[in-house]
């Protein structure tokens, strides 16, 4: 059924362009039914999974390679699957409204549904190789989506940047997964977890850890790989809402959570995750405060959330993992709502710049309400889900005494309070601006998503028992042990966590009202440190390109002579190395008999002709020397019982000489002086002698082996009986290997046509042939 869901979404993607052409106004509502029904099916699995029975599914894919499409639905996968299909359905509806009348709306749905299928496969895959394939598919489809406005150079650059960063991470993922499979001997995640193999003590553990962390950190935009995410906001808003808040960027977080039972809990794991997560959270918060574009602000707060999620997995205590599950859900809901509502503001007022927004409340009350609810959840105020999540985080981190982490979280959350206030207060309650004058409320397609997601933020906050089971199952899956009972409440009483929440709120409001000095000092810090990752990225790329250019122009400089030298050197190296390594040097004892005298004379003539052709100063000299060689070869054929071959060689040799002389009459003399420099002469002589030597050695080695005569015997025995010819060679040519001869005639005909065309080309230009 999981596979069916994925296939159904792929099918919906395939028909999306056609459907959009047939029903331009309705296609998004119809298409959304597919992920919506998938979400319903996943919702029906919740009771079973919470009871501790994961859904398993296997379809054989490439049995010879031991790769299967196996899926496993436990708490973690189920939570992700629900987010992907649920938010996905509303994103499809939303994008229909957002892109209304856009000429490529159908293609957009194709991309976003393909992405949805890939993402769903990623979070449910149990097989390591399928996991990797789905991971790569999300990278590729997100490349398409970020670069959707492909006429815009910035979009293209951002798309390529995202693809290169996450694609590089994908390489690391493949290597890491293969190492894991080799180390444990199992190729499914569940089998690795169940085998109890202690990968943490394995000699390959550091390599695995580095590779898999690289994959997760690039995908989830952790510092220092964070720079692509804000740039990716060039994508249309539905993409930002979907990929860059709820789904794709959380794939890295998913990977870390999924691997926590097998790889987590060690010192390097703890330090890598808490450091990267903490720095990312702080950096994202600071940059969110500095930005003025609504989508950029949301992009940076997403960085903060990803950092916190990674930090929580790093801490890894029972409470931290419950907090992880809660914050994952809370963030996906409020951030999805905020992104879509920000797009609605952009749509209604024509701008996303904070400075140009104000007084929208009277014009866009519904959008304002949903932003307010989602922003309250982001700020972590009761009675919303964000509050519950934040309390869980504070409670556990405080209890475990991670004071540095606590300080980081306090600062980041305070920044979230200030950002939430920024998002709502000025645009909606501030003094009306010019943009507010012509602003208008958005239609149902744009508001359905924010309404449902903001509503769920409120509902889950008030009725935390509803998602509690799933959150518990998620935490169990990340912890990888026996299920633990969970009892969440909105109101915990007067606890240290509540005090910390109050502190956060006070600090956040102080940040908001003192924002301009804070902004200035942040700008000063940024100027001071001069960390411009975008510039560094460009330098890296141009360095790479420059190196490739230099290598190419060194290898391919347009001089035929050097190309040929490379080719011959390659042949010499490969054949020579093989001969040396395999010990191919043999000497089949020389058996001189009476007839060999003539052979020696002919061989000397061949070599003499060769030497003459090389030494010739004039063309005629060279042609005559070549003729000596050619005629000696013909005589050799005649001597060896091959009269047909000998006669043909005589004819062709004559014809070649005639053509050569005819063409030469139209060409200039050989230039006087040597045809190459002294070092080139030496190098070419070494190459030539080397290759000649290798050919002789190979021939000797072949001659030392017995010859299989079966085919020749067959031809000799059947030539007369079956093909009625006494000249066996002729029968082979025209009968046994007739198709070969047909091919040969075709080649001759093509060469003739080519010659004809070459000569005619001149006449076409009006010149003389």
């Amino acid at each position: 059924m999981i596979l069916t869901a994925i296939l159904a979404i792929i099918l919906a993607a395939a028909v999306a362009p056609t459907l959009n052409r047939l029903l331009p106004a309705l296609s998004h509502w119809v298409l959304a039914l597919v992920p919506l029904s998938a979400a319903l099916w996943f919702a029906l699995q919740v009771p079973g999974v919470v009871a501790g029975v994961p859904v398993l599914e296997t379809a054989s894919w490439a049995p010879s390679l031991g790769v299967a499409l196996s899926f496993r639905l436990d708490g973690l996968s189920l939570l992700f699957a629900l987010l992907i299909c649920g938010i996905g359905a509303f994103v499809v509806i939303y994008s229909g409204g957002y892109l209304r009348g856009h000429p490529r709306e159908g293609r957009f749905h194709l991309f976003i549904l393909s992405f949805m299928a890939a993402m769903l496969g990623l979070v449910t895959a149990d097989d390591l190789i399928s996991l990797f394939v789905f991971w790569e598919l999300t990278s590729i489809t997100s490349f398409m989506l970020i670069g959707f406005n492909h006429e815009d150079a910035r979009s293209r650059r951002s798309a390529i940047q995202a693809l290169l960063v996450t694609g590089g991470g994908g390489m690391a993922l493949l290597a890491g997964l293969v190492l894991m499979g080799m180390a444990s001997g199992h190729w499914t995640l569940s089998a690795i977890a169940a085998s109890g193999a202690d990968l943490r003590a394995h000699v390959l553990y550091p390599a695995m850890l580095v590779l898999l962390l690289l994959a997760a950190f690039t995908k989830s935009a952790q510092v220092p790989f964070h720079f692509w995410l804000p740039n990716a906001m060039d994508a249309p808003t539905p993409v930002s809402a979907y990929l860059h808040s709820a789904t794709m960027v959380k794939a890295g977080v998913y990977l870390l959570a999924r691997l926590n039972p097998t790889l987590g809990g060690t010192e390097p794991w703890f330090w890598a995750l808490t450091l990267a997560g903490g720095v990312t959270a702080l950096w994202g918060s600071a940059m969110a405060l500095r930005s003025t574009d609504l989508k950029k602000i949301l992009a940076y707060t997403t960085l903060m959330a990803l950092g916190v999620l990674v930090l929580l997995i790093g801490i890894g205590s029972d409470g931290a993992l419950v907090a992880f599950a809660g914050f994952l859900l809370a963030h996906s809901l409020y951030k999805g709502a905020l992104f879509m509502a920000a797009g609605s503001v952009d749509h209604g007022s024509g701008t996303r710049e904070l400075g140009e927004l104000g007084g929208l409340w009277s014009k866009m009350p519904a959008t304002g309400l949903f932003i307010a609810i989602a922003a309250l959840s982001m700020a972590g105020l009761p009675p919303l889900l964000g509050f519950v999540a934040k309390e869980l985080i504070y409670e556990d981190v405080f209890r475990n005494g991670h004071m540095v982490a606590l300080a980081v979280l306090l600062l980041a959350n305070a920044a979230m309070v200030a950002t939430a206030a920024t998002l709502f207060l000025k645009p909606f309650l501030g003094a009306p601006t010019k943009a507010a004058g012509h602003a208008h409320e958005s239609g149902p397609a744009l508001l359905a998503g924010p309404a449902v997601l903001a509503g769920l933020s409120l509902l889950f906050g008030l009725w935390i028992a509803l998602p509690q089971g799933l959150l518990g199952a998620t935490a169990d899956a990340v912890r990888g042990g026996a299920p633990q009972s969970l009892n969440l409440h909105l109101w915990h009483g007067l606890t240290p966590a509540l005090g910390l929440s109050g502190l956060t709120l006070a600090l956040g409001m102080a940040l908001y009202f003192g924002l301009s000095p804070v902004k200035n000092s942040l700008a000063a810090i940024q100027r001071l440190t001069r960390i411009d990752h975008d510039r560094a990225w460009d330098c890296l790329l141009s360095l790479l390109q420059g190196t490739a250019n230099r290598i190419t122009s060194a290898l391919q400089d347009g001089v035929l002579q050097r190309y040929l030298a490379w080719i011959f050197a390659g042949i010499l190296l490969l054949l020579g190395a093989t001969l040396v390594m395999r010990g191919g040097f043999t000497w089949p004892g020389i058996r001189l008999d009476g007839d060999d005298g003539l052979g020696i004379v002919l061989a000397l003539l061949m070599l003499g002709g060769t030497a003459g052709a090389i030494r010739a100063r004039s063309r005629m000299e060279a042609v005559l020397s070549l003729a000596i060689t050619g005629m000696s070869v013909a005589l050799f054929f005649l001597l060896s019982g091959a009269p047909d071959v000998g006669i043909t060689q005589l004819m062709v040799e004559t014809l070649s000489t005639i053509i050569l002389v005819l063409v030469m009459a139209k060409l200039p003399m050989l230039p006087p002086g040597p045809d190459r420099s002294r070092p080139a002469k030496l190098f070419h002589s070494v190459l030539a002698l080397g290759i000649g030597g290798v050919v002789t050695v190979i021939l000797l080695a072949v001659l030392d082996q017995p010859l299989a005569m079966d085919l020749s015997r067959f031809f000799g025995d059947t030539s007369l009986v079956e093909a009625y010819g006494r000249n066996v060679v002729n029968v082979i040519l025209v009968d046994f290997r007739g198709f070969d001869t047909l091919g040969e005639i075709t080649v001759v005909a093509c060469a003739g046509l080519g010659v004809f065309a070459l000569l005619r080309a001149r006449m076409g230009k009006g010149g003389q042939p």
Binding site: D557, Q561, L564, F568, P588, D595, D596, A603, M606, L607, T610, R619, A622, L626, T629, G630, F636, S640, G641, A642, D644, Q649, S656, I659, L660, V663, K666, L667, L670, D675, R676, H684, L687, A688, I691, G692, V695, T696, L699, L703, L707, L711, S712, F715, G716, D717, L720, R726, V728, V729, L733, D740, E744, V747, V748, C750, A751, V755, A761, R762
Partner: protein, 119 residues
């Protein structure tokens, strides 16, 4: 005999490679002619050599004498000779036309497809 021919083939291949590495188009052509001759001799040689005794079926007999020369390499060489000739004819006319268009037969100066980069 085979050993003698193996040595001769090596010598011819060496000469052919040296000529093909020349900058002058005609010398490259000379190298190609030599190379195809060398390869034909090599093919016949690895099929083992017999002095005289061509692969014919004598009157009155039904099958070929097993002491006759190996017919298979002869058939292959016949094909190879003709193909080599076609290649040579085409390449020669190509060189002739190239000279007409570019006014040179120096391969390092024929750079229409890959012009020299200006530093």
């Amino acid at each position: 005999m085979e050993v003698i021919m193996a040595l001769a083939v090596g010598g011819m291949v060496a000469g052919a490679v040296y000529l093909i590495l020349s900058r002058q188009y005609l010398r490259v052509m000379f190298g190609v002619i030599l190379l195809s001759n060398a390869v034909n001799v090599a093919i016949l040689t690895v099929g083992r050599l017999t002095t005289g005794n061509p692969p014919l079926i004598a009157q009155g007999t039904e099958v070929m004498d097993h002491a006759a020369a190996n017919p298979l390499p002869q058939a292959l060489v016949l094909t190879a000779i003709v193909i080599g000739f076609s290649l040579l004819a085409f390449a020669l006319v190509l060189g002739y036309r190239a000279y007409q268009e570019m006014g040179t037969l120096d391969t390092s100066a024929m750079r229409v497809a890959e012009p020299e980069e200006k530093p």
